[in-house]
């Protein structure tokens, strides 16, 4: 394709359709639309939850009723109609699967289309997958192997039943229901999610993984993930998301809470590929997620994400560096195309002595999309010798898109060292010229530059995910990445 020009690339970018747009025809158990106390009681009773959790939900609902939707983000959208959403949708057969063969063949097909076929995963990667389809975890593999080490990795509802003490102790400690509008909503109506506990001193031998997928039309997905790494343990957790093609905008308001106790390390990687709407900006997922990690002494939490989907993204994975000498990291690539809007970034709250944080954020905007970085670095009074380095770069592919940066840097300690740098530009003509001069076609040159641009982040991803992330980048900006 030596004759491939930038104009053709632009044309291709415009026409990119969503490749995961299919609806699985699985019978699902959906409750009536609307939100009130009865609906919450119904969700709670359907899931056979204990009383304290119902109380927690109702309290969150009270808080939510008094809150208003935030509108400070740099995004424009039609506010979701909260009474027009069904708050629970589960595949009809909720019975437990004894073995992989018991799983509905149609569901297997869905997973195959996603490119994460369980068989393949089991055989090739040794990854334990907790597959979440419309809010209920349907299959969990490698459980026995994890059991031996005392690692708990199960669906959230299972954890409520089998490990209520752990759930009760940590639920809502990092993201309280009062945190924000969507966190309150999630705390009231969360359907399911994943729960993970790594005992003291255990190094989880494999990458743990969940795959979220929204299937039923008009349902919101309210996931709840809780990962607890006990003292001196290590876990790498992978999360991937896709949603089928639908015209109405679907709401996704999840909460992810990470707790790294003393000297523990959590690596949380996300590949987000929700349906971004078609090329006219119709449909797509609203992704309003609250992700936060609590770092205790000498612990480390690292967020890595590749975001290519969602019509609206509103997400700030954060670290509260409470313990002395703890470390927080955030690596992100966000790609927006067509009419997508993303307002994303990270918050690093330095509370302990000698805490360190790194933020590397790379945005690529194309089509008529808007991509904003919004970050907070806060050094508190007690955080002596804290250190932060932030870099956020934006790459503009068309003259109709936008790239914005809104960093907040707050420093209350004189021994802190904070650096922030951001650049915005299009692919340099001199860079292109340099590559072409050395015999690369324009397409290959663009591919080389974009790949190089994201390399810092992709290198931080676990192997299996990096491959998928690269694939997604290629899909989202097809023909620009070589």
């Amino acid at each position: 394709m030596a004759g491939y020009t930038e104009d053709e690339l632009k044309e291709d970018l415009k026409q990119q359709d969503y490749k995961f747009g299919f609806v699985s025809d699985i019978e699902s158990d959906k409750i009536q639309k609307g939100l009130n106390e009865d609906v919450i009681r119904l969700i709670s009773s359907k899931k056979e939850e204990p009383n304290w959790l119902l109380e927690y939900r109702l309290k969150a609902f009270q808080i939510w009723k008094e809150m208003t939707e935030p509108n400070w983000a740099h995004i424009k959208y039609k506010k979701p109609e909260f009474q027009d959403i069904a708050y629970y949708s589960a595949p009809k057969q909720t019975k437990k699967y004894e073995s992989w063969d018991d799983v509905d063949p149609e569901m297997k097909e869905t997973m195959k289309k996603l490119g994460i076929s369980m068989e393949e995963q089991k055989r090739l990667t040794g990854t334990a997958v907790d597959f979440v389809m419309d809010s209920v975890s349907v299959a969990t593999s490698f459980k026995d192997k994890l059991n031996e080490l005392g690692i708990i990795f199960c669906s959230f509802s299972e954890a409520v039943k089998e490990h209520p003490k752990l759930v009760k102790k940590y639920l809502g400690t990092v993201v309280p229901a009062t945190d924000n509008f969507y966190a309150a909503l999630n705390s009231a109506v969360f359907s399911d999610g994943s729960f993970c506990y790594i005992p003291k001193g255990v190094r989880c031998p494999m990458e743990l993984s969940t795959y979220f997928r929204i299937n039923e039309g008009g349902t919101g997905q309210f996931e709840r993930t809780l990962v607890i790494a006990d003292e001196s343990s290590y876990v790498s957790y992978l999360e991937g998301c896709t949603a089928p093609q639908r015209d109405e905008n679907q709401l996704h308001a999840a909460i992810v809470e990470l707790i790294a106790l003393d000297e523990a390390e959590i690596k949380y990687s996300t590949v987000q590929n929700w349906y971004p709407g078609d090329k006219n900006g119709v449909g797509g997922i609203y992704n309003f997620v609250t992700k936060r990690g609590m770092c205790h002494t000498r612990s480390k939490i690292s967020w890595t994400q590749v975001e290519t989907g969602s019509a609206i993204t509103w997400k700030y994975p954060s670290c509260v560096l409470r313990g002395d000498y703890s470390i927080g990291e955030f690596y992100s690539v966000a790609v927006t195309n067509n009419y997508q809007q993303a307002d994303t970034g990270s918050k690093m709250i330095h509370l302990g002595k000698g805490t360190k944080s790194t933020i590397i954020s790379k945005g690529i905007s194309s089509g008529k999309s808007h991509n904003s970085y919004r970050g907070l670095v806060q050094i508190n009074k007690r955080a002596k010798n804290a250190r932060n380095f932030t870099q956020c770069d934006s790459l503009l592919m068309t003259d109709t898109c936008g790239a914005h940066t809104f960093p907040y840097i707050e420093c209350k300690n004189s021994s802190a060292q904070i650096e922030h740098e951001a650049t915005t530009s299009k692919i340099g003509e001199d860079q292109l010229f340099y590559c072409q001069q050395r015999g690369l076609s324009e397409e290959k040159a663009i591919g080389l530059i974009v790949n190089g641009y994201c390399k810092e982040v992709l290198d931080k991803m676990p192997m299996e995910f990096a491959v998928e992330a690269r694939k997604l980048l290629t899909l989202s900006l097809e023909n620009s990445v070589g």
Partner: protein, 417 residues
Amino acid sequence: MNKLQNFRKNFNPTSIPLRKEMLTLSEEILKKNDFPTTKNEKWKYTRLGKLSRLSLEKSKDTSTIKKSSEKISEEAITIEIINGFVNTISDLPKGLIIKSLKDCSKKELAFLGENIHLENEVFHCLNSLYIQDGIYIEIEKDTKLKEEIHIVYNNLSINTFNPTRLYINSKSFSEANIVELFKSDGAENSFVNPVNEAVIHENAKLSITKIQNEEGNNFHIGSDTIYQKKDSFFKCNTITLKGQFIRNNIYVNINGTNCETHLNGAYLMDGKQHVDNQTKIDHFTPNCESHELYKGILDEKATAIFNGKVIVHPDAQKINAFQSNANVLISDDANVNSKPELEIYADDVKCSHGSTTGQLDENAIYYLRSRGISKRKAQAIVSQAFIKDVFSHIDSESSLSYIFKTLEKQHNWEFLD
């Protein structure tokens, strides 16, 4: 009655015949609003609680007072403003018009407020509605002023609200260098509210240097709105040497191609001083460049805020915009909040911003001390080295020597050239 209405009750609308629409709109906006709180993104780090609780009176006409304040230079064209009233204007050269707003024609007054936003800007409204005096400056076409224009604002009053207005009309191919010195000799609990607007026509050059050296417990909320036309040049240096509560808003609208804009700032604060620098540069047209450099040193319980915003509007291609903010914290009680923002809606641009917060280089201080220089002096030398690149943008020799003299007095610095 909210705090703003309560604050307003002691003042009468201006007697200067300004444009009616501006006055009615200001009145309407003030009626509907209150003082901004920290929930307002623009006021996130600056609290107006203390100011809003003051019960201030309007300042009395001081134009007859014969008191000459400290001047920066004898050679410059000097205008003295006391408590918001024009006191003296020195002799003017050819091609330059300077007059008090009281002496302006209707046609000249009609320029006022053309480019100023009133919506969401309570302090612009207060100023428009309650000014008692101000200055109109016009630099005629092709006039390249050799002398600098020095405006000395002196605030002498206690418990008063002193709004002033400055309108600068830089006609095409003109060049001017304006220095504004803000002082307050013996003032207490006063609120100074200077609002400046400037239109820089084709090929004109304007540079403004603001020196803020205000004693006493006073409030200063000022703003500059600049409108740049084709091929023009604008530079603003904001040097804050002292001030209990200072807020500087600078809005630059670039509406022509090939413009150049420089905003520089330095702040050296200690005690419980508070300085808030807000800048916003709107690039509406292609082929322009803007540079921002703000540096500060904070000691004791001082607070500094930097919020810079660069907006590149659609179709404003080939823009180079750079923004840099660096802070040094000397004490653990000092506070710094930095928010450099970029909003970009065009693709062929080069924009970047950087922000750092840190300490003075210990190795450099150690080096100096090992050569027999005292700790204090070593700190002073390293601080100077840090902040001096902002001073290098000041063209006015006399203001530079004023700044150096003040710093020598305030911080025991010795300037070695």
